[in-house]
Assembly symmetry: C2
Homo-oligomer: 426 residues x 2
Amino acid sequence: MAQKLEGSLLKTYKQDDNPNKMFLAYKVCMTSKGRPWVSSVVRKTRMQIAQDPSLNYEYTPVMGMKSFVQASLNLLFGKNSQVIVENRAGGVQTVGDSGAFQLGAQFLKSWCQSSQIVYIVSSQKEPHGLIFQDMGFTVYEHTFWDSAHLCLDPNMLLDVVKEPTWRMASPTVPLSRPVWSGRHRQDSLSLQHAPHGCVFVIGSMGNCQLTPSQWTQLMTLMKSKEIFPFFDIPYQGLSTGDLEEDARFLHYFVSQGFEFFCSQSLSKNFGIYDEGVGTLVVVTLDNQLLLRVLSQLMNFARALWLNPPTTGARIITSVLCNPAMQGEWRQSLEGVVENVMMTKEKVKEKLRLLGTPGSWDHITEQKGSHSYLGLNSQQVEYLISEKHIYIPKNGRINFTCINSYNIDYITSSINEAVCFTKDSER
Amino acid sequence: MAQKLEGSLLKTYKQDDNPNKMFLAYKVCMTSKGRPWVSSVVRKTRMQIAQDPSLNYEYTPVMGMKSFVQASLNLLFGKNSQVIVENRAGGVQTVGDSGAFQLGAQFLKSWCQSSQIVYIVSSQKEPHGLIFQDMGFTVYEHTFWDSAHLCLDPNMLLDVVKEPTWRMASPTVPLSRPVWSGRHRQDSLSLQHAPHGCVFVIGSMGNCQLTPSQWTQLMTLMKSKEIFPFFDIPYQGLSTGDLEEDARFLHYFVSQGFEFFCSQSLSKNFGIYDEGVGTLVVVTLDNQLLLRVLSQLMNFARALWLNPPTTGARIITSVLCNPAMQGEWRQSLEGVVENVMMTKEKVKEKLRLLGTPGSWDHITEQKGSHSYLGLNSQQVEYLISEKHIYIPKNGRINFTCINSYNIDYITSSINEAVCFTKDSER
């Protein structure tokens, strides 16, 4: 019997029969009614596609729908961007972002045998880190969240890529975590500094505001240590509400001559959750290199699923290639982000009115749906066991799970947790 | 740059600019107008689903849509069959049949480390055999087609599983074939007899009619040598037109207490080619074993694609769970098979009228869309180079590619090939 994943907070939640229970860690954006959000433009497009008699439903190529991959690349880099004009950005359609990581990891495993070390942000350990780990990579977790100062700290990121001094985590820091697979048991390790030639998984950087000089420092370090970036763009547009802004940090890496992989998922920002629409994006230094990498990726994709599914890709391509529909989609993203900011403001205001100790500015300082509440583990434990509010240990919640029906219960519970737990350090 | 797959007959065909060119090796059934066949019931269901406001498009579980997996199992074994009643048949929804083979192969690789040898029918080498090969299995090809007597010979199958005498192929038999992947170059090997504990991939047996005593012999041999069957049901119902008949041989294995995997694809027999709807079916001796195997498979599936796509699964479940729609679907399958038989009769009759040397009864003696024409490699070569009719080296074609527009050209070309090639041995 396979070991259960530790991350089954959702499972514990589901088994709880308290009527007040709530789960604030869904990966996807929720509507004010507590249902997964779907962009209005998707419903229309789905119907149009079903009614279109001219469509054929034949096998897609191994690389996926060409028009979908191109539209995805244009969205990520801009139609007239350097990499696209120079024909050195390409992609393979994958089954969701797990598929993109699986495909990328297989390539790195076979073709970069010297770099079998992966660095990943803790919140991405599941499931992306596990994909690498299961394939035999050594996976190290890190975080930029400074729980003492309640902010995302670019220096913590810089520290990770700094000089190659290996140091094991001090035993007082609970970083070890058993892995779900019965095959490769491995405790998560803490490695203070990413070693030469490792793979560095970088998620959305929108929340971690680096100064220009910090960007330069980061990229110089990564270049000198030949660290391979594997970006993760899980929901472009849902961080700031601005599609271009959310992918801007990628452009820095392009302009500095990096080669990289990027998992680009379009399931969450369209609301097509059940179709797993992803792309493994490849950026190389020239077109010849790109073609070679794509030819190898095609072999892996052929063995993995042969033909990626088209429904989601077809919906997204229709939207992206039609300016009016794309405009409507953009507006729907802005709407989600505005609601998130409003919810955060309300949470902060309610905590202020309740007289909850401490400053709660960090809630509104963070961008996007998923942000740190800034609670310590005792407070989190209190919320789960006493209030049946399920949130991850690190206190990073999905603010779209908070709505007018539950906000009072949640804020008063947070207030209780902060006031009643003895250790008020966060 | 990755090596090109040898099987790119389709690519050569596409590059040919002769106006008469035709490709007779498509994997899927074609309509009389030369388009991939789609069951009429699929179009209706697709529309109904798009118009259903009650459906949600949330993430599917890692195991896939529960109702889809159950409907697939019922279709394969019968709702009231022993394995289903005893709760020892289960399945994981996969991305097509490649996904099912990938998932099953990963399990076997990790959990049956003593049996890293796979036996597979030549026509299935691509892509299924390559999945095993790429994962490090040693893959041997075999065939039941007796080209001398122009028939599928059960004894050739029995011979393969017989006593464990290892013998390398004689160098005069051109069995070696380089592999597409640049990573593991390996020539295909010929191993006369499947060794103890190997994995035996068994495709549709409808065409290879074993007598009851041959079935007993086959299963006794496989049991004594602990050979693990991995069945492949790529298009149930499209072999004989009878869904139950096409899966009957599976029931023999169930009744004899075999444990096995089965890749069940429902893309081709519904005509949902672009969605890759598959199931990896697991049959074990009891429910406890089943749950354990499924729990491990879930871990692999989580890393492969996390959530399988639902569009295809949803369409199929709707059809299978509605008796009227299922009836219409069954009728559409019968229609395809009747057309295939009619086409075969016509081909035979036209060859007879042309006075083509030899008997062509083997064409109508074989069931299903894909059957051997019974041509030797010289004749095949003649058809490709002189007539631009693209068929595989072994002469196994898809008879649904033959229609009223091309039948005369095809039959007269076959006649020419047989008459003009000096070596008339087939």
